[in-house]
């Protein structure tokens, strides 16, 4: 896009873009580390994730403040206004992603020692890989602002939902097998849910990018394949 006549305005918009990218990188790292900490029962790593969250919280606040000041000073319209509103929304989504990573990290302490079955760990890792790929791609789309790519990410959330549903079933099975599994499995269930939510946030971000680029909301319902809200009866 062409430059503003006032170059300071461009600098303010660039600041927002740069900070969002930084937040994205950190959020990605936190999620990856939280899952690694969980699978390896690495308490030190979990602690690092928990403390990293404040950096993300600060970044979101700073982006919000900069956005408010820019709106007040520049009275942005059209694509500029969408850019700034989009930054606020994306920063909020990324901040939530960080919170979910932190929540997973907190559960490491509770789960550590109870020994996660290898198969479950693999499932969680796979779920996290998918969510991270989605997060990474959506951040790439943020850099390119391609509405087509934003739409394709949105459509891929289905895959994560499907794996989450199968993990959910598996965890239920473990709990039914042995009541002693209930505590760690409940924590793992929350962890899986956290990771699944990260996919949803990536989808939110993709929708925001689509709106920033086109000024229109992406068409059609968001694809959903998370059936866990109707699962749960013993006979299911």
């Amino acid at each position: 896009m062409s430059m503003h006549i006032m170059s300071a305005y461009d600098e303010e918009l660039k600041y927002l873009t740069r900070r969002i990218s930084e937040m994205g990188g950190l959020a990605e790292q936190m999620v990856a580390e939280s899952v690694r900490a969980l699978v390896n029962s690495d308490l030190a790593l979990a602690q690092k994730v928990i403390s990293d969250d404040t950096i993300l919280d600060d970044a979101e606040r700073q982006i919000g403040e900069k956005a408010i000041v820019t709106i007040a000073k520049r009275q942005p319209v059209a694509a500029d206004l969408r850019e700034i509103m989009g930054s606020i929304r994306i920063a909020a989504d990324l901040e939530r992603v960080g919170d979910l990573g932190k929540n997973t990290a907190k559960r490491v302490i509770a789960v550590a020692g109870s020994g996660i079955p290898r198969k479950l760990a693999r499932g969680l890792e796979h779920l996290a890989e998918l969510a991270l790929v989605q997060l990474k791609e959506v951040l790439d789309v943020y850099a390119s602002r391609s509405p087509e790519k934003a739409n394709s990410i949105r459509e891929r959330d289905e895959e994560i939902d499907a794996i989450y549903t199968s993990l959910f079933r598996e965890l239920l099975t473990y709990m039914m097998e042995d009541p002693r599994n209930i505590t760690p499995c409940t924590h793992l269930l929350f962890c899986a849910k956290n990771i699944e939510r990260i996919g949803d946030h990536a989808t939110n971000i993709a929708e925001t990018i689509y709106y920033m680029a086109t000024g229109a909301q992406p068409e059609g319902e968001r694809p959903k394949d998370d059936n866990t809200s109707t699962l749960g009866s013993v006979n299911d």
């Binding site: 896009m1 062409s2 430059m3 503003h4 006549i5 006032m6 305005y9 009275q75 942005p76 319209v77 059209a78 694509a79 500029d80 206004l81 969408r82 086109t214 000024g215 229109a216």
Partner: protein, 271 residues
């Protein structure tokens, strides 16, 4: 009770906007100043009881177009207008049209407040007097009062109606000019940057007034202030190098305009 969803209300409003009848229709309007062409086949229709804002960089033809709507260009030597402009059904460039009467139907407010060097009362009574709209003093009193009221000025000047209009503040003078335009009961009011010489408070008062006047009049406003266009108008037309680039609902224009040139202009970017 019939509760419409928000989307349904939006849609109904849009449809309402699309069914608002045209007060003035401009078809293939071109303007030449001597050899120089200032407007290129502009097709722009003005909707009734709507505020239409004309925006665009200096020299884009927006004021030129505004002036064609009440034949203000007639006063400029060498100026030639082609195409067709109608007010309701009347072709305003028809040789049989009385230009004085046309300008009573299509009034104008200028950039700089230009009250006559007369009393506040006489400034407002001037138009009705020359158009023979009133005869008795009571008639004039009433026109002056209601016009000043419509212009939101009456309460501020009611005790000094016979003092000179030029003694008012800039913002009050501009509202006096609006009262003067309103006094002859025009159908359309043209405003050429009516707030560019006013401070923000006087500007806000004039903008509030424009908003209220919309119920009784059709308003076309030329403005250099993007934000003013966004605040006061329902439709916005963007001019560039003598061409009409885009005309759209103001809400759409300022969130997601169709044309790249509109986009660059309203965002303050290099075209």
């Amino acid at each position: 009770m019939n509760i419409m969803s928000e989307a349904a209300v939006e849609k109904a409003l849009d449809q309402k906007m699309n069914t608002v009848p045209y007060k003035m229709i401009g078809k293939d309007v071109s303007v030449y100043y001597g050899e120089k062409r200032a407007l290129f086949d502009v097709n722009l229709n003005i909707r009734e009881n709507t505020v239409t804002a004309l925006i665009g960089p200096s020299g884009c033809g927006k004021s030129t177009f505004l002036r064609t709507l009440n034949r203000m260009n007639d006063t400029i030597e060498n100026c030639r207008v082609t195409g067709k402009i109608t007010l309701d059904e009347d072709d305003i460039y028809d040789p049989t049209i009385d230009v004085v009467e046309l300008r009573a139907r299509v009034g104008m407010v200028f950039q700089k407040p230009n009250p006559f060097p007369k009393s506040i009362y006489d400034n407002v009574a001037y138009g009705p007097r020359i158009h023979g709209l009133a005869r008795t003093k009571a008639d004039f009193d009433e026109i002056v009062e209601t016009s000043l009221q419509k212009a939101g000025l009456f309460n501020e000047v009611k005790d000094r109606l016979h003092e000179p209009g030029t003694g008012l503040s800039g913002g009050q003078q501009q509202r006096l000019c609006i009262a003067r335009a309103v006094a002859v009961s025009p159908e359309v009011i043209l405003m050429d940057e009516p707030c560019s010489a006013l401070d923000p408070i006087a500007t806000a008062k004039v903008e509030e007034l424009i908003h209220e006047l919309r119920t009784n009049f059709t308003i076309v406003i030329v403005t250099h202030s993007m934000q003013q266009a966004a605040r006061v108008s329902q439709r916005t037309a963007m001019f560039h190098l003598g061409n009409l680039v885009e005309e759209n609902d103001t809400d759409k224009m300022f969130t997601n305009p169709d044309d790249q040139r509109t986009q660059d202009y309203i965002m303050g970017r290099f075209g």
